[in-house]
């Protein structure tokens, strides 16, 4: 057993874990955070994507012991006081999911893109979601949702800026 301390969605945890325990199994089976699903055995599907110290990773391809001392954000840690983020809202409004299995990973990967590139084009969205597979939607509405979230976020930032200027 190896002792780890990790912060997950703002809560600090201390645990003794087997070194072979995957981060995704730690999140799901130990912490009960089943919002992060597992979709494959080959690190291809991306549904398990979470943030590790602010960067997207496939949590099935990280050992829990490698997350020792780190901060993890899962899809369950995004909403603030029950209010969804623009990305989460956009996935809902643009019908970007059918079964929803890929959605947590899609949202986490899209967050990563929007942090690096707040106003991406459709091609850039597709490229950024390269590591995330969806068996249902055909991707069109996922791309739409990410573009809509980008637009909403930058529009609200512009509003804030104008308010600051006029205030």
């Amino acid at each position: 057993m190896t002792h780890i301390s990790v912060t997950v969605d703002g809560t600090a945890y201390e645990d003794d874990v087997e070194p072979r325990l995957l981060l995704v199994h730690y999140l799901r089976d130990r912490l009960g955070l089943t919002g992060t699903p597992i979709g494959c055995d080959t690190s291809n599907c991306g549904t398990c994507t979470v943030e590790l110290d602010g960067m997207s990773v496939k949590s099935c391809t990280v050992l829990a012991v490698q997350a020792d001392g780190c901060e993890v954000t899962t899809v369950q840690g995004l909403a603030r006081d029950g209010a969804w983020t623009p990305l989460q809202r956009a996935f809902h409004e643009q019908h970007a999911l059918q079964c929803g299995y890929c959605t947590p990973g899609m949202i986490m990967a899209a967050r990563d893109l929007l942090r690096e590139n707040p106003r991406p084009g459709p091609g850039e969205v597709r490229k950024a979601l390269e590591g995330n597979l969806c068996r249902c939607t055909g991707y069109q509405n996922i791309v739409r949702a990410v573009l809509a979230a980008a637009e909403e976020t930058s529009a609200s930032e512009e509003r804030q800026n104008t308010q600051e200027v006029t205030a």
Binding site: D41, V62, L63, Q66, G131
Partner: protein, 284 residues
């Protein structure tokens, strides 16, 4: 699947890591970014008794200038390589090829050193290291040694590294004014290269003065397309490049697998060499 059980250590320094590996012998496995090792463990294709996590050893990450050379720490992630201003300026081929590796989440964890040490013939970076004439610095119980990339890869997933040696640095000669292009052929997003071609071209007075071509997945190890390189010298127009590219598969022994026959891989090598060189030479 759940990986097989193993013991785990996270040495805090290079000496400690090397000593741990030397004591453990063949039963230990180095863990860097884990983006090749963890899938192998999950599929139960590897059964190490001890995993030595080198991920937090200080001094093995980042890019610095060392005279005519870029010294890239083995633990530098693919993401860092893609965005590093020095790499983009002096070894643009490496940044471009690294951007085609896997997907953003894998690139956040996977390392340059891990890609080279793993020595997958379908991996994109070994052929790039060959084309760039990189040197690989390894540290073991006997000290430090520098290995030219052309001597590093010995067979399918095999390198000259001993089990108790660590790759610590990748040294790439700085090149300015060379054109470059990595052409990767794969069927679906984030899949490995069926064939890849890394081209570096120096032009002189409208002609190709010198071309360096690395081939991905055209044999058990990465290869240089020596015959095509020779034929390209002096090429001054797209037709001459196309003719020279016909020899790109000479001397290679590509494998047969579910996605391609050796003949098809040879065809791809010729087509991709033409495309890569035309783009690198600005004739495309």
């Amino acid at each position: 699947m759940i990986p097989p059980a193993f013991d785990y250590v996270r040495p805090t320094g290079l000496d400690e890591a090397v000593r741990t590996l030397a004591d453990a012998g063949e039963e230990a496995k180095v863990l860097a970014g884990g983006q090749s090792l963890l899938p192998l463990l999950r599929l139960r294709l590897a059964f190490p008794e001890l995993v030595v996590d080198i991920g937090r050893i200080p001094g093995l990450r980042g890019v610095r200038e060392d005279g005519d050379v870029l010294a890239i720490g083995a633990l530098t992630t693919h993401h860092e390589v893609v965005h590093d201003p020095l790499v983009r300026r002096y070894a643009g081929l490496l940044a471009q090829a690294t951007e085609t590796v896997a997907d953003p989440a894998v690139r956040h964890r996977g390392t340059l050193g891990g890609s080279l040490a793993h020595a997958d013939p379908a991996g994109d970076l070994p052929a790039v290291a060959l084309a760039l004439d990189a040197e690989l610095v390894a540290v073991g119980p006997g000290g430090r040694r520098t290995i030219p990339a052309r001597d590093f890869f010995t067979d399918y997933l095999q390198t000259v590294l001993a089990p108790d040696e660590l790759l610590v640095e990748v040294r790439v000669p700085k090149r300015e004014g060379w054109g470059y292009r990595y052409e990767k052929f794969h069927r679906v997003a984030q899949s490995w290269a069926m064939v890849g071609v890394a081209a570096l071209v120096r032009r002189d007075d409208g002609h190709i003065a010198e071309a360096r071509i690395g081939l991905t997945n055209m044999g058990a190890t990465p290869l240089r397309a020596a015959a095509a390189e020779e034929a390209l010298a002096g090429a001054g127009d797209p037709d001459a490049v196309a003719r020279a590219a016909q020899s790109a598969a000479e001397g290679t022994r590509p494998s047969r697998d579910a996605s391609a026959s050796p003949e098809y891989r040879a065809h791809l090598a010729r087509v991709l060499t033409k495309r890569a060189v035309l783009a690198a030479a600005g004739m495309g």
